[in-house]
C-alpha cells in the first residue's frame, strides 16, 4: 500500500469516527500519528503553494505600507485560512489532496508556526505584548528570504 492509499484509508476511518463523535487519537493513537504526519505534509505543501500571499504581505510590511498590528492579523489570516481549506478538503476526502502528498518542506512548516506565534504574541500595548514590531520585521524578512529563494 503506498502513501496515497494509506492516507485516504486513514482519512476515511477518521471521518467515520468523527461522525460518531469519536476521536481517532483516542481510538487508535498510532493511526492518529500516521494521519497527522500525512496531514502536516499536505498542509506544508499547501502553505507553499500559497506563498505569493505571504510574499505580498511581508513586502508591504517591510515597506511600511502597513502597521505591525495589521501584519500580525494578515499573517494569521492566511495561515488559518489555509488550514481551513485543508480541513474542508479532508472532510470531503477530496482527491486533490493527493497532489500535495509529496515530501514537504518541513522547515517552512516550522518557520510559519514560529511566525504565527510571534504574530499572536504581538500587541500594540507594550504592557501585554510578548513580541514587538522589530521581531515581526525580522519574521517578515526571514519569510521573504525563505519563500523567494526557492
Amino acid at each position: 500500500m503506498n502513501d496515497q492509499q494509506k492516507f485516504f484509508k486513514l482519512l476515511k476511518y477518521s471521518n467515520e469516527l468523527k461522525k460518531n463523535k469519536k476521536s481517532l487519537r483516542k481510538e487508535d493513537p498510532e493511526a492518529f500519528d500516521m494521519l497527522l504526519h500525512f496531514s502536516v505534509r499536505i498542509e506544508n505543501n499547501l502553505q507553499y503553494s500559497e506563498r505569493q500571499e505571504y510574499i505580498e504581505l511581508a513586502k508591504d510590511f517591510l515597506a511600511d505600507q502597513m502597521t505591525a498590528d495589521d501584519f500580525s492579523y494578515g499573517f494569521m489570516s492566511i495561515y488559518e485560512g489555509i488550514g481551513k481549506k485543508l480541513g474542508q478538503m479532508e472532510r470531503t476526502e477530496s482527491l486533490e489532496l493527493a497532489n500535495f502528498l509529496k515530501p514537504s518542506r518541513s522547515e517552512l512548516g516550522y518557520l510559519l508556526a514560529r511566525i504565527y506565534g510571534s504574530c499572536d504574541s504581538y500587541s500594540p500595548d507594550p504592557e501585554i505584548a510578548m513580541a514587538d514590531e522589530k521581531e515581526l520585521k525580522d519574521c517578515a524578512q526571514i519569510l521573504l528570504l525563505t519563500l523567494q529563494e526557492e
Partner: protein, 360 residues
C-alpha cells in the same frame, strides 16, 4: 495675508517645540478656515504638516513659491527640533530605565487617557476627529482644496487604521515590551527564550530574562478559571481583549470588524479574523475558555514551553482550528499564573506540540 500663514505656522512650531508631539490640528485648521473665508481664490499657500514620527514632514501642496526668508525660518525650526531629538537620544541612552520611562511618558503626552488637555490627549482627540472625518466623503474633497491641516493619520492611504501622532510616536519611544522584545534602541534583551530549540524568528541566541513579578490592578480585576485538573489561570482584562480580538472567530464569536477601505483584497482577508472587542464578546470568550478548561476531555500538557516560557498547556479537539484549540497558562515570568495563549492550532502546530511539548 500671505505673511500671516507662515507666521501662524511658526507659532505653531513654537508650540510644537514646547511639546514635541505634533502641531495642533486645530490651530492649523483655523488658519485654513480664515483663509478660505477671506478669499476663496487665495488657495495658493497650503501646508500639510505631519508629525507622525519624530521627523517633521512639510509638504507644499500647490506650486506657489515660498519666500526664502520663511523657508529659512522653517529650516531653523527643523534644526532645533533635530537638536532636541538628539538630546532625547542622549538622555535616553545614558539615564536609568526609570528616567527612560519618565521621558517616554512625557513624549506620549503623560496624561494619555486621563487629562483632556495634555498634548497626548489632544493628539488622541485629533486622531479620533480625523478618523470620523475619514469616513465622510467631504474630507477627501478638502485635501486638494488646499486647506491647512495636520494629518493625524498616515498620509499614505495604504497605511491602515493607526493614528500616527498618537501611536507611532508612542511606538517609537516605547520602552521594553512587557516581556522581551528589543525595546527602544535595542537596550533591552530579547524575549525570554530559555528553550534553546525555540530561538524565535531571528534564530540567534537570546538571553533569558524572567522579569520580576508585579501585581498590577489588571491582575486584580482578572477572571480566575480553574481547569478540570485543578490548575488555575487568570484571564486579565487586557489579555481578554487581546485574545478575543485575535481568536474570537475561532471559537464561534461571529462579530468580526468590517474590512478597512484600504485593505488589499486577498484570498484570506485579515479583517475577517479581527473580532470586535466588546464586553459581551470578551465575556463569551472567557466563558468558552472556562468550558474548555473544565472539560475532562481536554488534554493537559504540563510543562509545555510557550515561546520558551514554562507553562501549563491544555488542548481541546472540540474547538478551534483543524488541529483543535490550545490554552496556555504561564508558570514563570511576569505573567505567571495568567492565561496568555488561547488560540486555534493547525496540524503542524499540533505535531510540534505533541512531539516537542512546545508551542510558539
Amino acid at each position: 495675508m500671505h505673511q500671516q500663514i507662515p507666521e501662524e505656522f511658526l507659532k505653531a512650531m513654537d508650540v510644537q517645540n514646547q511639546s514635541p508631539v505634533r502641531i495642533e490640528r486645530n490651530s492649523m485648521q483655523e488658519i485654513g478656515d480664515n483663509e478660505t473665508t477671506k478669499s476663496h481664490n487665495d488657495k495658493t499657500r497650503s501646508y500639510a504638516v505631519q508629525l507622525s514620527s519624530s521627523i517633521l514632514v512639510i509638504e507644499k501642496i500647490n506650486e506657489s513659491p515660498i519666500p526664502e526668508a520663511y523657508q529659512k525660518q522653517i529650516i531653523d525650526q527643523l534644526s532645533q527640533m533635530k537638536q532636541q531629538k538628539e538630546i532625547y537620544y542622549q538622555v535616553i541612552t545614558e539615564e536609568s530605565s526609570s528616567t527612560l520611562k519618565y521621558i517616554a511618558t512625557q513624549i506620549r503626552g503623560g496624561d494619555l487617557g486621563k487629562s483632556k488637555s495634555g498634548p497626548g490627549a489632544r493628539a488622541r482627540n485629533d486622531a479620533l476627529k480625523a478618523a470620523k472625518n475619514a469616513n465622510k466623503p467631504k474630507a477627501a474633497k478638502l485635501k486638494p482644496g488646499g486647506r491647512f491641516f495636520a494629518e493625524a493619520w498616515p498620509s499614505n492611504p495604504s497605511k491602515r487604521s493607526r493614528p500616527a501622532a498618537a501611536n507611532r510616536v508612542a511606538q517609537q519611544f516605547q520602552t521594553a515590551p512587557a516581556e522581551g522584545g528589543n525595546g527602544l534602541f535595542g537596550r533591552f534583551p530579547a524575549r525570554p527564550t530559555p528553550d534553546p530549540s525555540n530561538p524565535g524568528c531571528a534564530g540567534g541566541p537570546k538571553s533569558i530574562t524572567v522579569l520580576s513579578q508585579s501585581k498590577s490592578s489588571e491582575e486584580g480585576s482578572a477572571r480566575e478559571i480553574t481547569a478540570h485538573d485543578g490548575v488555575k489561570g487568570k484571564l486579565t482584562n487586557k489579555s481578554a481583549s487581546h485574545l478575543t480580538s485575535k481568536h474570537g472567530h475561532a471559537v464561534g464569536i461571529d462579530d468580526t470588524l468590517p474590512p478597512s477601505p484600504n485593505q488589499k483584497s486577498g484570498k484570506y482577508p485579515f479583517a475577517d479574523i479581527r473580532t470586535r472587542i466588546t464586553k459581551e464578546n470578551k465575556k463569551e470568550f472567557g466563558d468558552i475558555l472556562e468550558k474548555i478548561l473544565q472539560n475532562s476531555k481536554t488534554e493537559p500538557f504540563p510543562g509545555v514551553s510557550i515561546r520558551g516560557i514554562k507553562s501549563q498547556g491544555f488542548h481541546s479537539e472540540d474547538y478551534g482550528g483543524e488541529g483543535g484549540f490550545f490554552i496556555g497558562i504561564h508558570e514563570e515570568g511576569k505573567f505567571k499564573g495568567q492565561i496568555k495563549k488561547a488560540q486555534p492550532i493547525n496540524r503542524q502546530q499540533l505535531e510540534i506540540l505533541r512531539k516537542f511539548n512546545k508551542i510558539d
